[in-house]
């Protein structure tokens, strides 16, 4: 078994080849072997870049420019593949092979571990992260939390001296978050290593870390705070919270309760069954009413059919049984079944914000993106312009009007997709996991915006795991059961 690594970062910086500004610059720090560090900072402070640098996967001179150096046990990090292991945010894009055992073995193979040592290591690693599934289980059958534990097992099997976690739980439901955190704790017991973790949700990792380092970002380069969790969060708690970090004891601002009772019913379902693939209903017997001036929250475990229900209510997926019925006040002559409405009819009636904003982008600039709905309705140019200007202002996107949607940050992308739906003022707005992976500032703004819509008389439906959002919006909760 190897020993925990010592990390030295000296005057380090990185500039991506296609950008003018440095992603991160002037970082100096030393991490002793076996220390467990939580790395914080506003989004865009270069936390991820530093972590990739520590892992030695930033690439060569054609990828970007580097200054200073990063040393693991006194030697350059980039020359020591396998000394550091990295787990990334997205569970789907880091599963490499089709079977669980093969995926865990992948790192060992690359490092040239002899075959007779690989399989014992695989068993040890799966045990260390508590992933108790057969070695030939297909990786695509795993849940999000299991996939993250699989990635962790792949890292553990390499027996690294440094374990790096880049927002490992940002894409997981609450159960998955704890599952992965506990797996990391168990892993460190079985295999002592130096740990560096990035995560917006501080409370999740506090029990595990003994040091907090804060990166400054654009105006204050390098490390701006460094110490025990109590010291750093005590002195910088406020400013970290303002920068979007979820700091315990500094809850984000929440909107006021609804101003009025909920209004008319707009959509109803009785005995509805929903499906994505014909013949495979994922939820059945659903009786729902979607009312104006109210937030309806659809919650429940992964695989319960929440997103499918959202898309069915939105008139995008045909029901498996029974119907989604639109009352005449919403249908306005288009007929009682949203799934039979034209795409253009949907615009003013039901808007949908997808979980992945990139699925929704159609245009080259933020302004063009917002103009698509009004143009499809055939509004006059002047009217379109004033709607779009107003939305840009309200969503704080004005300075990004000419930017390409794909280049925005996660929070900005989310605001843009919401804005593009609001451009045609639908009576019902359906959002799939709107607060997923968002920092505290974006969270607060989104919740405020949804509360405004609710109070203005729209019906809002959110499909979510985020119980804080359900509470802050005073939403009526519908919980789907379903077994995983």
């Amino acid at each position: 078994m190897t020993h925990p690594a010592r990390v030295e970062v000296r005057g380090w910086g990185w500039r991506h080849a296609s950008r003018n500004a440095w992603a991160v610059r002037g970082v100096d720090l030393t991490i002793a072997p076996g220390e467990r560090v939580l790395l914080l900072g506003a989004s865009g402070a270069g936390k991820s870049t530093l972590l990739h640098g520590l892992a030695g996967v930033l690439g060569g001179a054609d990828e970007g420019e580097v200054e200073g150096e990063i040393l693991l046990d006194g030697a350059r990090a980039a020359d020591q593949r396998g000394r550091a292991g990295l787990v990334l945010q997205d569970p789907d894009s880091q599963v490499i092979l089709a079977r669980v055992g093969d995926d865990v073995a992948f790192g060992c193979e690359n490092l040239g571990v002899p075959r007779d040592q690989i399989w014992p290591r695989v068993e040890m690693a799966l045990g260390a992260v508590g992933l108790d599934v057969p070695r030939d289980r297909p990786t695509k059958a795993l849940s999000g939390g299991q996939k993250q534990r699989l990635a962790l097992a792949g890292v553990v099997a390499m027996q690294p001296g440094l374990v790096l976690l880049d927002e490992p739980t940002a894409n997981l439901d609450p159960g998955g978050v704890e599952e992965v955190r506990d797996a990391v704790a168990a892993m460190l017991q079985a295999h002592p290593a130096t740990l560096v973790v990035i995560e917006h949700r501080v409370d999740v990792w506090l029990p595990l870390v003994d040091r907090v380092i804060v990166l400054g970002g654009h105006d204050a380069a390098g490390v701006v705070a460094d110490g025990t969790p109590a010291e750093v969060l005590g002195s910088l708690g406020d400013s970290l919270a303002q920068a979007g970090v979820w700091v315990p004891g500094h809850p984000p601002v929440e909107p006021a309760p609804p101003v009025a009772e909920s209004g008319q019913t707009l959509l109803t379902t009785r005995g509805l069954a929903v499906q994505r693939v014909a013949g495979h209903p994922v939820a059945t017997g659903l009786d729902l009413d979607v009312r104006a001036g109210e937030v309806l929250a659809v919650t429940g475990p992964n695989g319960a059919g929440k997103s499918t229900l959202g898309l069915t209510l939105a008139g995008l997926l045909p029901p498996a049984a029974e119907e989604v019925v639109a009352e005449e006040v919403l249908a306005d002559g288009a007929g009682p079944h949203p799934i039979r409405w034209s795409s253009r009819d949907l615009l003013t009636r039901i808007g949908t914000v997808f979980q992945d904003p990139e699925h929704q982008f159609l245009a080259r600039t933020v302004r063009d993106e917002l103009e698509i709905g009004p143009k499809a309705l055939g509004l006059a140019e002047e009217e379109t312009r004033s709607i779009v200007d107003d939305l840009l202002e309200r969503m704080r996107l004005t300075r990004l009007a000419a930017a390409n949607p794909y280049t925005l940050s996660g929070g900005e992308k989310r605001r843009l997709t919401v804005a593009s739906m609001l451009a045609t003022a639908p009576r019902v707005l359906i959002l799939d996991e709107p607060t997923f992976g968002q920092d505290a500032v974006t969270w607060s703004r989104l919740i405020g915006l949804l509360a405004d819509l609710r109070d203005a008389g729209s019906a809002v439906v959110i499909v979510t795991h985020d119980l804080d959002a359900v509470r802050a919006l005073h939403a009526r909760e519908v919980r789907l059961g379903g077994d995983r």
Binding site: M158, L346, A376
Partner: protein
């Protein structure tokens, strides 16, 4: 297809190294691709039909997997019967259509040939696991590991692309642009899918690098890919079918090598 669903299978044929299956189907196909007569194809097909019951497939699965072949073969044959090179007696003539002795014979030969080439390939590849194929290609054929593993990891992402495509479709309906301009919308979705797949690809590449992929030094393989008696038997069967088919065609005087003098 099987290459995508990645189920583990059992049975004698399933355990044979995929490289041997690739070689055997290649050996059967090569002579049939290079001649245009019906005797060689018929002989090969008869021999294959005698062996298919031993491939370890249930009949239901056999028909489910091979129906496209059964559909494509007659369609190709009809086309050739109608438009193929005429010769001998002409039965029907109408515009470009000319059905003759020559085109009918060619049609029959084509029908048999499509079946004789496609059936064994489909039957053998139903039981191929892509991971095992990659192991074989890297360890036995000695293709570069970077190439083989990159392709293998990429293959796993096809399922994600299918989901992406569906979401793109629904999102366009939600954005109010799905009522007309189908062709343009299709092009836009294809572009969006390209962007998404490049992003996914680069994330996957980072994840692979983070696990030491491309590290200097010799890579080891967790799963041994072996090529033994079982594999040689299968390759021998492939070569045997090809040999018998060629000899039969030459003896019958129908052998006509497309690259040789006609």
């Amino acid at each position: 297809m099987t290459l995508l669903d990645g189920q583990a299978r059992t049975g004698t044929v399933a355990r044979i190294n995929p490289v041997a299956k690739l070689a055997a189907s290649g050996l059967v196909a090569i002579p049939l691709v290079f001649t245009l007569d019906w005797v060689s194809a018929a002989v090969a097909l008869v021999l294959e039909c005698l062996l298919i019951p031993f491939a370890g497939l249930r009949w239901g699965e056999f028909w489910r997997r091979t129906w496209p072949v059964w559909l494509a073969a007659p369609l190709t044959a009809v086309t050739i019967a109608l438009y193929g090179e005429a010769g001998g007696r002409v039965y029907v003539e109408w515009l470009l259509i000319r059905v003759s002795d020559g085109s009918l014979e060619l049609a029959a030969a084509t029908l048999l040939r499509v079946l004789a080439v496609a059936l064994p390939s489909v039957v053998l590849f139903i039981t191929v696991d892509p991971t095992d194929l990659a192991d074989g290609l890297a360890q036995i054929v000695r293709l570069p590991a970077r190439f083989v593993l990159g392709a293998l990891a990429g293959l796993r992402m096809i399922g994600l692309f299918v989901d992406d495509w569906r979401s793109l479709e629904l999102a366009r309906r939600a954005r109010g642009v799905a009522d007309r301009g189908r062709l343009r919308r299709f092009a836009g979705m294809a572009f969006a899918l390209l962007v998404l797949s490049i992003r996914r690809g680069s994330k996957l590449a980072t994840a692979m690098e983070a696990r030491g992929f491309g590290a200097p030094g010799r890579r080891t393989w967790a799963r041994a890919s072996t090529f033994g008696a079982r594999e040689w038997v299968l390759v021998g069967i492939g070569a045997g079918i090809a040999g018998v088919a060629i000899v039969a065609a030459v003896l019958a005087g129908t052998w006509n090598f497309i690259l040789g003098p006609s």
